[in-house]
Symmetry: C2
Subunit: 348 residues, 2 copies
Amino acid sequence: MRATLIHGPRDVRLEQVPDPAIQRPTDALVRVVASCVCGSDLWPYRGVRPTKQPRRIGHEFVGVVEEVGADVRTLRPGQFVVAPFTVSDGTCAHCRNGVHTSCVHSSGWGGDDAEGVFTDAGQGEFVRVPLADGTLVAMPGTPDADLLPHVLTLTDVMGTGHHAALSAGVGPGSTVAVVGDGAVGLCAVIAAKRLGAERVVALSRHESRQALAREFGATDVVAERGDEGAAAVRDLLGGGPDQVLECVGTKESMQQALDTARPGGQVGFVGVPAGGPELPVQQMFGTNVGVRGGIAPVRAYIEELAAEVWSGTIQPGRVFDLVLPLDEVAEAYAAMDERRAIKSMLLP
Amino acid sequence: MRATLIHGPRDVRLEQVPDPAIQRPTDALVRVVASCVCGSDLWPYRGVRPTKQPRRIGHEFVGVVEEVGADVRTLRPGQFVVAPFTVSDGTCAHCRNGVHTSCVHSSGWGGDDAEGVFTDAGQGEFVRVPLADGTLVAMPGTPDADLLPHVLTLTDVMGTGHHAALSAGVGPGSTVAVVGDGAVGLCAVIAAKRLGAERVVALSRHESRQALAREFGATDVVAERGDEGAAAVRDLLGGGPDQVLECVGTKESMQQALDTARPGGQVGFVGVPAGGPELPVQQMFGTNVGVRGGIAPVRAYIEELAAEVWSGTIQPGRVFDLVLPLDEVAEAYAAMDERRAIKSMLLP
């Protein structure tokens, strides 16, 4: 089959790789119907994280079950499934707590699973899915072309935006600011709105993203950044937002979030910390602004969010503003890297 | 009058200072009935924080209103009052949010108030209290000698322990670990219990403190620290506690808290960060363990906690295991510094 490998900075290639097959009785084999490029894929693409040797890449995909292992109970061939961006057994204490990313049998796409068996990544034609019962979620049917992008966001960005809002404690009447106008930040706007936020301020300097944020439910847009941005949001919300959703992952964006929240407020963070800036505990102590979040256990949220995607209540797939065939995967990355696209969808 | 000054490491002295008087129409003059030494007073006492010049010290006191300014509406001479450890107006947006420590007119004891007028500290005979209506809370009567220590904890440690538990989100059925067996840690045990925690594990190596923790509601005690301590707590609680209350303020204690919480858990922190260690954002991202807390807005909690103190439901004053006259203030510090006392009470 064909699958995407990253070789180094700005070097992703579609190549021939071995066809995957069922290897464990709990596996499923999935034919990928759509995949996409994640903002976090850009860290190795930009060389911020080194790529020591060529490796498979892509952790967001949906598809059709082709075959299941003998012990798979909840899935059958022909079902359309959503794969969250990590593998989980669904039964351990952490999964039962809704923190599937800390599953004792957790693994990622494009590396070895908990048993040491190689697992394909998402930007390809087929994927062997370990622990299929725990990992995959079957949809009520096969989405048509219009619905497909919305369903695809359940693999990561919609669930991740939701996790930011949940981690920050957004609820009815909340005042919220969202730092980051990428796909996750935009989905965080949707998430804050559906959780009942009264005011949602999107920090964005890009007109098209500002417009989409407003359509997703942002009540206000602030283009300033840094101290000016914090002051502008605080002015709008009389002292500052109850919650700030940090959806970027840089030292600057986290500082923006901490400086913007009102005293006693909460930052929900989901941006993968690039390079590991540490958090200023003295500032947090003095202001009582908390920080909670992390790698989003999107598996926990798929059913709830899927219901609203299928009913058309939310349309997170509008973050895809570029759709390309899989063999143009290099362009899919380049367009996101150069901010010509918010998010690229790939069709095999 | 007489009041305590700190001159430098291990050098606190009771000295003659000017008698305070009402200076603003919103002031009250309070005769101190009891005060105490805070764990955070030990940072300058130990030289961890430098003392540039001799200065008044002490931020926990209760007493009787002697006189009030013309604009004071809610207090009258003769009332017994509790002073939280910061001054607040009670009316600004942050006070209304319950974050009185971020009051726009906030100030501390033993320094200048928001108008630049010197305010006495607590370890003395009298205190000029700015913004008295916002700052002070009148008790239902004058506590007798038995009740006095419990009421005194409302100035700081009981409210601070409560803030740790609230910040961490302790609620009915929670599993909780408490890092720190000082007065705040012990009060945090009380707080977790009264908020409905099902299991409360106190991390303590001192027999007398272990015993008090159990009397306060700890269901388990773990004497180990570091990785061993974290593993012992996780074993006890099947994967780790939902909440960890960090009541010390060192890099080690915060790391202990982060390592002990279950994935997706929450650290509530109230220990003043000594020297400002930063928080490991990568670890927090990977585990989804949040950190929330800070300088406790105890003013917000006095009424609620006072009701339980006066009814005898909680007895946080048992943390005082040394009572001395004010002129032995130096010994009050030394005993806490050398861990001969959990907490020292001073009677003028």
